[in-house]
Every structure is written in structure tokens, then in C-alpha cells.
Symmetry: C2
Subunit: 391 residues, 2 copies
DNA sequence: GTTCGAGATTGGAACGGTCCAAAGAATCCG
DNA sequence: CGGATTCTTTGGACCGTTCCAATCTCGAAC
């Protein structure tokens, strides 16, 4: 007994590292009092405390906590009262330790600033929350951890699943994680890994949609401001496929941007600047809304009116495109739906970890607003611009 | 032996709730093999496994894990090799159970869509990460949990601290949490609670800054599009104080918005619409950038050029204001700095949980772009608009 | 008045780490 | 060469849960 006291009193005062917080808290226990000091000054109440207070065993409290039907009403009430009085909250760490489930899924974003993510998260959350799972978010850009790094954190936390949203700077290490952890990629098409599902919108198709819309309006000189990563690649491919299919490959131009407003602005200056002369494109399809808005600015500065002198289409249909003062046509990438499907996939994969990788593409839709019109000097066939044009 | 086998096989199949995921995972263990099946088929490796492989005790592995200097180089290397080979990651739950620290702080946002948060999180993260703390984010709006609800989650996770970012829909229950948990509020001025620190920008002062800028330019009929919550209240107060101080209280108008682009648009239509006639304001100070952009759109539709016919100032200096096509003057609320200071506060409070509540206000600054100018029919004194005007 | 069975309750072994006290090994010094 | 000292290493208690197996309680059936 005596020894046991001294032990517990000395226990934390001899720590070698200087975690001041801990010190201060523990310091509030000046000397070890009773024969076994389980209930420190402000230690949160445990299941034992509740049991003691309710006059039952901890096992019974545990049963009450999980709504077991095999508990008498009297004791159940006593336990619930004790829980209420003590403000008891079960310790998730202890619980998940034995249950080997954390009821937490890790969500890895690459840039919290991109408004597109919010919708995906919304869709994700609705389903996950309904299944009693919480989301733990990490921003890959925020903390510049490489793949290996974030892997460590999520693995240590033993999350039950992982959702990767968007384009990751570094995907090495993801394969290793996916070996042990149900993993789903949302809003990107790579990397293709053995048991990793992919949910995304059909970027190539969306890009074709946007480009064909411009073609139907009568545009012949159409430019594309490209983005990075596989998504950028796919959107570019859709653009090129559509222009080629209409025999416009010769007059289709691609300038590279980087997905930012600044990048879009610069690309647009290169495309529309005075150097171009009369071969200037009459329409631009941008990698995303942000680039599109950059192009909008450039057009403004170059004295080109949108849509009279220049038609413009973006991608992602973020709230930016909905701002009246911008009012940009944009391809809706169904991000909410992508989020929902990703959640669905993750739940399925948690149930069947070894199922073959699935890949789901959601159909994107073009959202028409005020940034496109037939070209000013339309060379003939501009009929597609009116209602009734080809689907 | 036999019995023990049946045990582990039946273990989870009798659960009352139908968590399919769990079932399937456990189902992958068809029959319990050896006398004590510690290393299940795909159970992650534990410290024991590492110890065994390295031919040492688990205590020694533990010492290696925390860089203890009291380990011989030979054994250390053996342990590190074993860790590498097995892909071992320590279990955070087990660790935090005994250490009674999770090295995790909860961050509560109310709307992930607001671009302002990203900077705060950035600032928060930089400091917290440096101190080995990870952030667990929850969006109060995403999952419509009331104060009580999110409280439960964070308390169960035993986060080491809590940061509330922005205006919470429901703050009841926060007091109770703050009793047990180091808590800091960032970007808002309420609620004032005993041991809860507050870090924010000085909204009243920022509003004065914006308003005085307009006044110095020569504007006399200035309107404010107000926002909600205490922050909205403070910015409004700053606006009223500034107009009153310059004897413009009579011509100062306030219309209420809701912080959205739509709300700003409507408020602006009410302020600038034809009904106003010649008493139309020549300048508007908006609660935030989003409302300001709504006002920008309204001005455009009403045929008012910005800044020629209408000067406009927003608040928060988000990337929206920086979009060239909008190019809005805006009050910089120093959100990155607010995040950094909030982290600082939280660390201090974790060290001294009982210190009295602190309140820090960061000085905001006006960022000048292209959305303000002297009024068209400036009645005399417009000197303040030029460099050299009064500070 | 046993015996039985069903239902309610409880003790105790995990879970995977940390850390203390004590044991073992190596080195030093007289 | 023996004892003291220091450096390494280890066994085991403990953190707060869950859940199995065992016990306890009680009324019904024999």
C-alpha cells in the first residue's frame, strides 16, 4: 500500500521532457492521499466512477452505455442519473482500443481554399454521419507533409478509412496505406491502385460538353487554358477531342495555366493579347472557374466585352461562377454527388476490403449563365446557339 | 483451448446492431487458430511484434520510440529495422490512454465555405504543428449538431484543447466544455466565459478605418450593409461611430444583409434602387467581401460604375477581393495572425488552465484597390483622397 | 423442497501502449 | 580482485473501455 502511494505520487513529477501543460495539471496533486488515487482533481470521470456512484459494477454501466436490453429499468435509471450528474463521457481512445474501430475516417484535402471541396465534404459527411462515422480532416497543402507523413498520422490514429479528395502533390506511400486501410479517391482519377476505388466526374466528357457548346454557338477559333495533373490532362483531352471532331483542330489553341486566377489571367493575356491580331480566339474554355475568372479580368483589361467579344466557360461550377458580377458559364462537376458516392464506396469497401477496385464516373452538366454568345462576326452557321440545337 | 477458439469466432457475430462493415471484417477470420491469436491475419503490427522480431522486450522498443538516449546503438538499430520491416505504427489510442494526452486539438468552424477560415487555419496550424499537435476539424454547419452535440464528440476524443473559429450558431454548452478543456475563440468576440481566451481583429476599428477612408475621399452619403452576430454588430458600430464623428449621422444609412452575396445584392438594390432618387448613397461599406461583391453586382445592374458612381469597401480581404475583375478595397482582418495568436493562446492555456481569460485584438488594416474614388459631384473637400491626407 | 432455467449482474482478461522499479551487464577504482 | 557505480534491459502495473464466462437471484415446475 505505502509503496503504491509513493509510486503514484512520483510518477509524473520525474518526467524528463518538459511538457509544461502536464506538469501544471499534475502539480495540482501535491501529495498522494488515499490508498489508490484514481480520481485526481480534474480527471474526467470514468466508467468506474459512474459505477460507484450508481452502486453497480462497471460492466453494468457498459451495458447501459450500449443500450443492452438485459438491464433492469431501476439500475438503468440509476446509471443514467450518475452519468448525468458526473457529466461522464466515454473515452474514445479506450473504447477504440478494445473495439479496434475508431469510427473515424480520415479525409485528405490538398487545398482547403478551393471552394469545390466544400461540396464534396458536404456530400461525404451526410452519408458518413448517418453511419456514425466522424471525419478527421487534414490539408496536405497546409502542413507540407509528403505522402509518407500524413500516412503516419492517419495510421497512428487507426482511422477506419481514408478519403483522398482531389489531386495530391505526392501519391507515393498511398499504395502502402491502401494495403491496410479502406481507401477511396474522390474527384481525381489517379492513382489506380489495386483495392482503391475512384469516384469522380467525367472530366473529359465535361470538357467536351463545354467545347461543343461553344462550337454550336458558332465559334471556330476556340482556346483552352489548361490545368495541371491528370484532371487537367483529361479536360484538355476532352477539349481537343471536341474540336477535332468538328474539324477545328487547326484553329484550337491550348495555353497552360495552373488553376489559379493569376495563371488564368496570364494565359488569357497570351491568348488574347495584341500579338494575336485577327487570329485571336473568340471563345475560351478554362480549366476551372478560377482560371476562367482570371481570363475574364484579362479580357476586361484588353477591352474585350464578355460575351459580346469573347465567350468564356469555366469548370466546377463553384459559387464564384454564380457571383452575379462574374456570372460564368461553368461545367457542374456534381461535387456533392461525388462526395456522396465516395462515402457509399468507402462504406462498401469497409464491408468488403478485398473487393476489386471500383471506378464510378458521374456525368457532369453544363450550367449556362451569361458568359457565352455567338461570335461577333459569326461566319455563317450560328444556329446551334438557339434552343432546339443538337443535343 | 477449444472453448477459447469458439469465443473469438462468436465474438462479434452476436452484436445486436447491424454494422455490416464490422461483420465483414471480422468474418475474414473464419476460425480461431492458435492458443492465443495475437497476430490476426491483417491486424496491424504491435509493439510486441516489433519486440519479438528485434529480439528485445517491448519496454525497449518503447524507449527507442521516444528517442531515449539510454539504449545501445546495436539494439536501437535492431528495433528500427524491425519497425521498418513490419511497417509498424504506434497506436495513438493506446498511447493517449496512458499518457492522458491526445496531442490533438479540436477546431470548430461554422462554415468551411468562407474563404476567411483558410487563413486562420493556416496560422493555427503553423504553430500547433510545430508543437506536435494535430488539428481535428469539425464544421458546425456541415453536421447540424448543436453546441451540445459537437461537445460530446470532442470530449469523447479527449482532445487537448479546443479552438472555436468564427461565429457559432449555438454557444450553449460551450461553457460546460470550457470547464474541462482549454478553449480559445478566434475571430469572434463572444461568448465571454471565465477561462476562455479570445483572439480577433478589432472589428469596430476596422469598420472605422473603412468608413473614414470613404469620408476622406469626400463622400457624404455613405451606406452600410450590415452583417449578423456580434461581429456584424461591431462593424456596424464602427461605421456609425465614424459617420457620427464627422457629423454625417443624418445621411448614414444601414441596410441589413446576411453576409452572403445574395444578401449583399438585395441590400444594395434597396440602397441604390430608383426609389432613392438623388439621395442615393455615393459609397457603401459592406460587412464582408461577399456582401460587397453582391453590392458590386447590384451597382452593375443599376448602371452605376464602380468606383466612378459608387465607392465600395468590403471586409476580410479574402482572395475574392483580390480577383482582378472585382478588385475590391477591403479591410484586412489579419486572419493569419489571428490564427497564430489563437494557437499561442491555446498553448499558454494548456500550460496554465486556470489563468484568467485573455483577450487580444489585432489591428486591422485597409487594403486599397480599385473600388473607391472621390464622389462624382464631390461637394468641395475631396483632398483626403490624395496621398498626404490625414492619417 | 429441490431442481431448473431465464434473466440480471459481476469479475476479470484483453486491447496496445508508457513508465517505474528492479535486475543484469559493463566499467571503474582502490 | 571485489565492491561501487553507471549504463542497459526487462517484467509488470496501469490507462478506461468491452465482452466473455461465471455467478447470483428468483419464480416456476416437478
Amino acid at each position: 500500500m505505502e509503496r503504491s502511494n509513493r509510486r503514484s505520487a512520483e510518477r509524473t513529477t520525474e518526467r524528463t521532457d518538459a511538457r509544461t501543460a502536464e506538469r501544471a495539471v499534475e502539480g495540482a496533486t501535491p501529495h498522494g492521499p488515499g490508498p489508490r488515487e484514481r480520481t485526481g482533481p480534474d480527471r474526467p470521470p470514468t466508467i468506474r466512477g459512474v459505477a460507484e456512484r450508481a452502486g453497480v459494477s462497471k460492466s453494468l454501466v457498459s451495458l447501459v452505455l450500449q443500450d443492452s436490453p438485459r438491464v433492469s429499468d431501476a439500475k438503468r435509471q440509476a446509471v443514467l442519473d450518475a452519468i448525468e450528474e458526473l457529466g461522464y463521457r466515454p473515452n474514445a481512445a479506450a473504447r477504440s482500443l478494445v473495439a479496434r474501430r475508431t469510427h473515424t475516417v480520415g479525409v485528405l484535402l490538398n487545398d482547403m481554399r478551393n471552394p469545390w471541396f466544400a461540396d464534396v465534404l458536404d456530400g461525404l459527411n451526410s452519408l458518413l454521419h448517418a453511419h456514425g462515422l466522424r471525419m478527421l480532416m487534414a490539408d496536405g497543402r497546409l502542413d507540407r507533409r509528403t505522402g509518407q507523413e500524413f500516412a503516419r498520422t492517419f495510421q497512428e490514429l487507426r482511422v477506419d478509412g481514408l478519403v483522398v479528395v482531389g489531386t495530391l502533390p505526392d501519391t507515393t506511400g498511398l499504395a502502402e496505406i491502401a494495403e491496410r486501410l479502406p481507401t477511396v479517391i474522390a474527384g481525381n482519377h489517379e492513382p489506380r491502385l489495386p483495392r482503391v476505388d475512384i469516384v469522380a466526374n467525367d472530366d473529359e466528357r465535361g470538357a467536351r460538353l463545354a467545347t461543343e457548346h461553344l462550337i454550336r454557338l458558332g465559334h471556330r477559333r476556340i482556346a483552352h487554358i489548361a490545368g495541371q495533373g491528370l484532371v487537367g490532362e483529361l479536360r484538355r483531352r476532352g477539349f481537343e477531342a471536341a474540336t477535332a471532331a468538328h474539324g477545328l483542330a487547326g484553329s484550337a489553341v491550348v495555353e497552360s495555366g495552373d488553376g489559379t486566377e493569376e495563371g488564368g489571367y496570364r494565359a488569357a493575356v497570351r491568348l488574347l493579347g495584341p500579338a494575336r491580331g485577327r487570329h485571336r480566339p473568340t471563345a475560351v474554355f478554362a480549366y476551372n472557374d478560377l482560371s476562367g475568372i482570371g481570363a475574364l479580368s484579362a479580357a476586361g483589361e484588353l477591352g474585350l466585352a464578355v460575351p459580346a467579344d469573347l465567350s468564356l466557360v469555366g469548370y466546377d461550377n463553384t459559387y464564384l461562377a454564380r457571383i452575379r458580377h462574374l456570372w460564368l458559364n461553368s461545367v457542374n462537376n456534381a461535387s456533392h454527388e461525388v462526395g456522396r458516392l465516395a462515402a457509399r464506396c468507402l462504406l462498401d469497401r469497409m464491408a468488403h476490403p478485398d473487393a476489386p477496385a471500383d471506378r464510378q464516373l458521374v456525368a457532369p452538366e453544363l450550367e449556362i449563365r451569361g458568359s457565352t454568345a455567338p461570335p461577333a462576326e459569326a461566319p455563317g452557321d450560328a444556329s446551334g446557339g438557339r434552343p432546339g440545337g443538337a443535343a
